[in-house]
């Protein structure tokens, strides 16, 4: 238990798998925060329950995770964000949902709560009415500065979110995001749901990452129940996860170029994306492969002609994609837009524990498939591309390299796959148990933590999208750039609104 050595704890919770969860007093909590602030640990998640807060920590050096729990006796807990800014929005969310306050926090504005809910603190035990206060954006002062308010309704068809720019002419001085418009109460809905209903809900947290969420949820439930999915089922899960990654990366590469008004790339990658979705439909009966992965395994095997459909897809990608890479690399006007635009500094990527292409384009070598090697990735060979530049171009190149890796992974899995069981039986009853899982979605690591009661119903479940730690970096990436380059930066991040608003 190397990760917990420096954190004094009261006792460990026995039914938490696969990583330990410990209950800490204030000293332990502060020690954990100090470790985060010093950069020795990475914050993986911070979430609440009516009377406690949990914090997931990752030690990247030894690839270990631990959850520390603080019991909020007085309805408050020592602020993490005060010493470790990445926790800020998570703390504000905990306050909105549970009514737990963080003491000595600098920023106490609401995050998800826009004062339109029927009830304040919907998940908490406190039922005090909340007074609507005008949301104040952080000030930026100076002569000739002006504000540009964008959204939540945009001119194109995208998810809603508000962006407040403070600019001097075209130059952005500060960007502040205000999200929460797609809050739909996923965590409330999950409470008391049986495993089947809960898997469906988790599946729909963020539509583009349906597989990754279902995968993470299933793994968390399996960890809690201490069962394992059969090998064939894990192969099918990885197939779906890689197909989803392919489709989204194709979509993103095209969309980034389209935001630089280079529609040619968008049209070409759009075709590839559509081919992926059709192959997914042929193989798994659903274009986004929803509701295939469930706790215990998968509900159906790959369709008889699915393997052929996937092989055809791989052949087409092999044929077309190299030409598209060349097109991207050789279009000077496009390179002029993406190179050196929207740089995310390496130290920020590390501090925020940014996952996915955002982190890997800025030198953070983290991929849950590699570092936390879950089945079947522990038996597959693949590379994790990492770049240092941190600009839009680097994020495009990470995606390009990952497409190549995903294609190779799908081919590998198709070769390895042997027919077999696809479901492990779930125990009929079980003591109260908790599970934690991290899987790699296309945009980064998805964390799912849950506690099941004796009837295998979800008592409490928390889903954390990679976007929580990427959105704040977008604010830093745009600083010093011009307003007109924001769409390009934003698209290169492609953070989830739905996944982060829950």
């Amino acid at each position: 238990m190397g990760i917990l050595d420096s954190i004094p704890h009261v006792h460990a919770v026995p039914s938490h798998r696969p990583w330990p969860r410990v209950v800490v007093a204030e000293a332990g909590w502060r020690a954990a925060v100090d470790e985060l602030a010093a950069g020795r640990l990475t914050l993986l998640g911070l979430w609440g329950e009516p009377a406690v807060v949990h914090m997931a920590l990752l030690d990247e050096a030894v690839a270990e995770i631990a959850v520390v729990t603080y019991e909020c006796a007085a309805g408050s807990f020592p602020s993490v964000a005060r010493h470790h800014p990445p926790a800020l929005r998570l703390e504000r969310t905990i306050h909105d949902l549970f009514g737990l306050t963080s003491t000595s926090a600098d920023d106490v504005r609401p995050w998800l709560d826009h004062y339109v809910w029927d009830k304040s603190f919907p998940l908490g035990s406190r039922d005090a009415p909340r007074e609507a206060v005008l949301y104040r954006f952080l000030p930026a002062e100076g002569e000739a500065l002006h504000q540009v308010a964008v959204g939540p309704v945009h001119a194109g068809i995208i998810e809603p979110g508000h962006f407040r720019f403070t600019a001097n002419g075209e130059h952005v001085v500060r960007l502040e995001q205000w999200l929460g418009y797609t809050h739909k109460g996923v965590e409330s809905l999950l409470q008391g749901a049986n495993l089947e209903a809960a898997a469906k809900l988790a599946n729909r947290t963020s539509g583009d990452s349906a597989v990754a969420y279902a995968f993470a949820f299933a793994r968390a439930a399996e960890a809690a129940l201490d069962i394992e999915a059969p090998p064939h089922a894990t192969h099918l899960r990885a197939l779906m996860a890689e197909l989803e990654r392919l489709a989204n990366h194709f979509g993103d590469i095209g969309a980034i170029c389209n935001d630089a008004s280079f529609a040619l790339m968008h049209a070409q990658t759009g075709i590839l994306r559509e081919r992926c979705l059709r192959a997914a439909d042929a193989a798994f009966g659903h274009r986004l492969m929803m509701d295939v992965i469930v706790p215990g395994g998968v509900v159906r095997d790959i369709a008889p002609d699915g393997i052929a459909a996937l092989r055809t897809l791989l052949a087409e990608i092999d044929k077309v994609f190299p030409r598209l890479i060349e097109l991207y690399d050789n279009t000077a006007s496009l390179q002029d837009r993406t190179v050196t635009t929207g740089i995310v500094k390496t130290e920020y990527a590390r501090q925020f524990g940014a996952g996915g292409y955002v982190g890997r384009a800025s030198g953070r070598n983290f991929d849950a498939r590699r570092m936390l090697a879950y089945a079947p990735y522990d038996r597959l060979s693949f590379e994790v591309p990492v770049l240092e530049a941190g600009d839009v171009n680097a994020r495009v190149w990470i995606r390009i390299r990952e497409v190549e890796q995903s294609v190779a992974l799908i081919a590998q899995i198709l070769d390895l796959m042997a027919p077999g069981e696809i479901m492990s039986a779930l125990p009929a009853g079980h003591g109260e148990c908790e599970g934690l899982a991290v899987t790699e979605a296309f945009r980064g690591d998805v964390l799912v933590w849950l506690r099941l009661d004796r009837e295998l119903r979800v008592q409490r479940c928390h889903l954390r999208d990679a976007s929580w730690f990427q959105w704040p970096l977008l604010e830093t990436a745009i600083e010093g750039n011009i307003i007109a380059d924001f769409p390009l930066c934003n698209k290169s991040f492609n953070c989830s609104y739905s996944g982060a608003d829950l």
């Binding site: 945009h154 170029c257 630089a260 040619l264 279009t331 006007s333 002029d336 837009r337």
Partner: protein, 318 residues
């Protein structure tokens, strides 16, 4: 008799540009769609859009001034008059005597001035951004086109477009370096003036990158229809201008027979199609440039136009 004939010819060309402008826009869109392996909207879609907008109610911002309501008509009138001054299939336009190339630029410049005002009128951030970008582009594009006009005028010995076109169509013009430079300069200016890629994107939905679209974001109904039609007229104007100065072959003279006129019209459609196709091809093969690269791009046009004028001074045959 000649007076009647002149009025008819002028009237026919005025009507022609008005009717043809949406078609050219539709054609460029169609070619772009085909190049992207899409089917694209039908050629007549811009007409349908105009009719649809005309039928819709106008939604006005509460704080819109009278200027905001008047400007679409001003823009349309200015652009239409300017467009009808450019010879399409026949030279010797009636209006040519009263307004030359410089007047065309002045008309377009005023239309733009009013449009920039309209962008700021309602006070939204996007309108302001659009107007500021538009004016930045204009300050560079307008000198460039003026100097291009001087270069061409010095070669042709006149600023009247009908005379210029006639001279360009004659054997007297020869092969001139300065004309080549003026052509490139005019093309660059035309791209910038018509909000095409790489300066602006006519098809964008990204409110933060828009120039032209940002200024007209608050317009709706018949106002928007007029503004859209003005933009389409402006595109036709620039394409016709390039055609009549640099591809003058087949343009009918003032006293031509009906057959020559018909031939001239046919050739004019052909020129529009070729230039429209080239525009679509160019737009497909290039990304939009950073906002602060635009001055360099337009600066190149300005320098080329200046060089063309200087060359003409240095040697009469260049």
């Amino acid at each position: 008799m000649t007076a009647l004939r002149d009025i008819l010819s002028q009237g026919a060309q005025m009507l022609l540009v008005l009717l043809l402008a949406p078609l050219l826009t539709g054609f460029v869109r169609k070619v772009k769609a085909r190049l992207l392996r899409r089917r694209g909207p039908p050629l007549v879609q811009p007409y349908r859009d105009l009719v649809r907008l005309m039928r819709k109610d106008v939604v006005l911002a509460d704080n819109a001034s009278w200027l905001f309501r008047v400007i679409p008509y001003l823009m349309f009138a200015g652009t239409w008059v300017a467009a009808s001054l450019v010879p399409t299939f026949g030279n010797g336009l009636l209006f040519s005597g009263t307004a030359d190339l410089i007047a065309i630029i002045a008309l377009l410049g005023s239309a733009r001035f009013f449009q920039a005002l309209a962008g700021m009128d309602v006070g939204t951030a996007f309108g302001g951004i659009g107007s500021s970008r538009e004016v930045m582009i204009a300050t560079l594009a307008e000198p460039a086109i003026l100097i291009t006009v001087f270069a061409v005028a010095m070669i042709a010995g006149s600023t009247q477009l009908s005379n210029v076109a006639e001279f360009m169509g004659s054997d007297a013009v020869g092969l001139r370096v300065s004309l080549g430079m003026a052509f490139v300069a005019l093309t660059i200016v035309a791209l910038a003036e018509n909000a095409r890629i790489p300066v602006d994107n006519p098809a964008t939905h990204l409110e933060l990158t828009m120039v032209h679209e940002a200024m007209v974001l608050e317009y709706s109904g018949r106002h928007l229809a007029l503004i859209d039609l003005s933009s389409q007229l402006k595109l036709l104007l620039y394409v016709s201008l390039i055609a009549c100065v640099f591809l003058p072959w087949g343009t009918a003279t003032a006293d031509a027979s009906v057959a020559t006129l018909a031939f001239g019209a046919l050739l004019y459609f052909g020129k529009l199609a070729v230039l429209g196709f080239l525009l679509a091809l160019f737009e497909t093969s290039i990304a939009k440039m950073r906002v602060f690269r635009i001055p360099e791009f337009l600066g190149a046009a300005l320098m080329l136009a200046l060089l063309a004028t200087l060359l003409r001074f240095v040697s009469g045959s260049l």
